[in-house]
Symmetry: C2
């Protein structure tokens, strides 16, 4: 359902588009988008990632992908770069001469890039395309929800009441645009201490509030795990495994 | 210096405008903006906060401010709401009937709101106006850097290489627009353990890279402190004190 505007972008080979959203920055949207894609791939699905954070793209770095997308035979569309594990990825950071370059674009340019990353990329046959969204409820999430055939939204939050308040705004955006929220992931829920206890450094979980507001299940509670930061920084997120991240797709 | 566009917004009573920026979400920009304002106020300066995160505003919640800004005698401009400690605050969340409401605006509306929050608010005489910016290098930071008389930028980062890469893009934005970076704050540097050791849950500090890129001093390294999350969620950030947060203004 939902308010579809100015001609939906088309890609016949993609069965499901899943948008990973939060409204709030730094909660782990890119991480969850990456773990979802890796988990789906491990279960035998064909999956790709569209990095919808045009000015702050972190997917390529997390997956250790530096190779530029090739121009397809038609001379117009692009062939996405592949991760070590064979996941096609499209991101602004792969198009820049240097990944540290700033992309200083206002809304219309950002929206145009997202449309092109969906329509003008040869994704081929995919069971799932995971779209990582930037924070806020402005151009990027609006364009994705209105121009892409999104089948479901995964919301990412952290335990703080502040984060819950802002993520709650993303719930309202999805509802107003007629989208379906398939699940809520609470990230950075605790730090596992040497004695086995859980140190809730960001306070007690508020995930239930979002489960109720979005009427969607809590998919997982992920701890702050130094291993995640290490592997993500080293471009090796595909080798992260943990019981909690397995829960994401249970 | 810098590229000033379409008429700078005017406010004669404000001596210095300090923008708090990161490019990356969730690193603690709002927290650092809040701690800077509280620290300046404690030292006897007059200070206000403009919440430039139009779609994800968290300043009012952190300060426990719910009262709506009043319309001034001229029937047009607004009188900012005051925190318990007397800090004037202007934020989109104070204008909404309910703080959980989503503001689903594209770039031009976001930019318009930021300009109005500067020009159409009766800030009075201020030594400092702290502007909290949303993540990304799109409409909001561009409008602030081009339309407001920004005297200095404080950059906020966290230890991860991923965060450092994205914050590095904000450094390039500020340099391209001729702004001055006055300092770098690394937040969430470690969790203080019961035995006095520091658990670097997000990996070793990369702050030096940004100090070099921005040619600005490292103002402070803040730990992940459950007290911060608790006070921020309770609207009591004005009562937070710690040796590390004192370093911010040393
Ligand atoms: N559970 C976690 N444990 C440790 N580090 C994490 C965790 N989740 C995210 N991170 C790290 O924190 C940073 C922010 O995560 P990211 O996925 O980029 O957030 P977002 O996309 O919401 O801005 C990244 O450097 C990432 O590697
Ligand atoms: N050093 C810290 N220790 C504990 N909690 C923190 C710390 N810094 C920020 N937080 C919490 O983390 C969340 C994100 O911080 P925030 O200032 O909103 O980041 P940003 O403005 O960069 O998105 C908030 O809920 C805040 O209270």
């Amino acid at each position: 359902g939902g308010m579809k505007m100015r001609g939906m972008a088309e890609q016949k080979g993609i069965k499901h588009v899943i948008a990973v959203m939060s409204g709030k920055g730094g909660v782990g949207k890119s991480l969850v988008a990456g773990l979802l894609a890796v988990g789906l791939k491990r279960r035998g699905f064909t999956v790709g990632i569209l990095d919808g954070d045009i000015t702050g793209p972190s997917i390529p770095r997390m997956f250790g992908v530096r190779e530029k997308p090739a121009v397809a035979a038609d001379g117009k569309s692009l062939v996405p770069s592949k991760s070590r594990g064979g996941i096609p990825i499209m991101s602004m950071n792969l198009l820049l001469p240097d990944e540290g370059e700033a992309v200083i674009w206002r809304g219309p340019m950002v929206s145009g890039a997202i449309r092109q990353f969906f329509s003008d990329v040869q994704w081929g046959e995919l069971d799932y395309l995971i779209v990582d969204l930037p924070p806020g409820t402005s151009d990027a999430p609006l364009t994705v929800m209105q121009a892409l055939p999104v089948s479901g939204v995964v919301l990412v939050t952290t335990p703080q009441a502040l984060a819950t308040l802002i993520v709650g705004k993303a719930v309202r955006l999805v509802k107003q645009l007629g989208g379906d929220i398939v699940g809520v992931v609470e990230n950075m829920s605790y730090v596992a201490m040497p004695d086995g206890s859980k140190n809730e450094v960001f306070g007690p979980s508020q995930g239930l509030k979002l489960v109720i507001a979005s009427n969607a299940p809590l998919m997982a509670k992920l701890p702050i795990d130094p291993e995640i930061a290490r592997l993500a920084d080293a471009g090796l997120i595909e080798s992260y495994e943990s019981p909690e991240s397995e829960e994401l797709l249970a």
